[in-house]
Symmetry: C2
Subunit: 218 residues, 2 copies
């Protein structure tokens, strides 16, 4: 049950999960690499990806504006790091949600709910992960690998249900793309505030039900 990756691991930091500023009087920060990601995430949550500036991140961490370049090639690399961390936590979340009820149909549904819940809980990560802010050059292999792992979790669950005779026998990859599209659609609308007041959790539960049984009148 222990997760492999937590986005904000419980640490000695304040309850607000504020990234560590450099201790006063010290020249080195200590863990600037990590603090940069955390502060970037915070900023994105507050002001959106477009509102993210390296200078404000540096200032908030009490560090000069170019200190970042010792750890990331450029702004895109920082965003890629955010995305990579996001995919790692995302994959873990999906896998855990599926495994918790012992897999099977309950696990499948739990995974769907966890998908949207992750997006709503970590909109900054989700937006960077899927918002197309990453240049092709910034899609480092590690990032792609993490993304593949997330997708594999979904495909695996589908294959399991098919073996149990609970899902139609279409190509698992095809089914997975469809399930992903549905989840992605709900997630995007939810974090873009376009659900017209509907509750994201309930919206996704409805989507899962309709996903399984369809909307045609029986």
């Amino acid at each position: 049950m222990a997760s492999r990756a937590r986005i904000s691991p419980p640490s000695t930091r304040s309850a607000k999960a504020r990234p560590a500023r450099r201790a006063p009087g010290r020249y080195h920060h200590g863990d600037l690499r990590r603090a940069l990601i955390e502060e970037a995430v915070l900023t994105i949550q507050q002001q959106g990806v477009e509102g993210l500036t390296l200078r404000s991140v540096a200032e908030r961490l009490g560090v000069s504006r170019t200190a970042l370049y010792r750890h990331y090639r450029d702004k895109g690399a920082l965003l890629a790091a955010v995305a990579r961390e996001g995919f790692r936590a995302f994959g873990d979340t999906l896998a855990e949600a599926f495994a918790a009820p012992g897999g099977g149909p309950a696990g499948f549904q739990a995974m769907g709910r966890a998908y949207v819940r992750f997006a709503v809980t970590h909109p900054a990560h989700y937006r960077v992960m899927f918002g197309g802010f990453l240049d092709a050059c910034n899609r480092d292999p590690e990032l792609v690998a993490e993304a593949e792992r997330s997708f594999a979790a979904l495909t695996g669950a589908i294959v399991g249900l098919q073996r149990a005779g609970l899902l139609c026998p279409d190509d698992p990859a095809r089914l997975a793309r469809h399930v992903w599209a549905v989840s992605h659609g709900v997630a995007m609308l939810a974090i873009d505030g376009q659900l017209r007041g509907a509750d994201p959790d309930e919206e996704m539960q409805y989507a899962i039900d309709r996903l399984l049984t369809g909307i045609r009148k029986m």
Copy 2:
């Protein structure tokens, strides 16, 4: 069958749909307001929304960098205009697709296909429309009205199918949100190039089929 709004009306321009540059020697452009939108769309298609700069748009139109401000309050207003035009064409496209086969189930399916086709054909518009690039302040009433009209086209189609006893009797607005989420998910994955080589049209047709009948084994 005549559409109320075409995104690129057939005009005297070249086949490349290049927006008109200012005629050499002339002080006024003639229709800068419209040319700005077209050039913005072109740029977004080529370089993404983040790659859009007012200066390059102006330069491409052979106009000074601040000429834009005689027609739009700021960059956001230009994007809002792009979105508004997009929603107008989008609503028309959906309505036409539904009406062409005489409505009913065939119209519903056609509308779904048209949804994704629009996104794939006009990714720049679609991204601006749904990508969250519009500030709340830029959501002018006209834009919201056009968006509502698009959504109403979908809801209307659903109500029709319900009356014909072809769809489950859930709240039409709820059903519409679900159908929209599915379509939006496929569309976003398609224009983000995340369909792993799958054909968007076929992907959407599959989604429609599963949307109607579900993925559970019969």
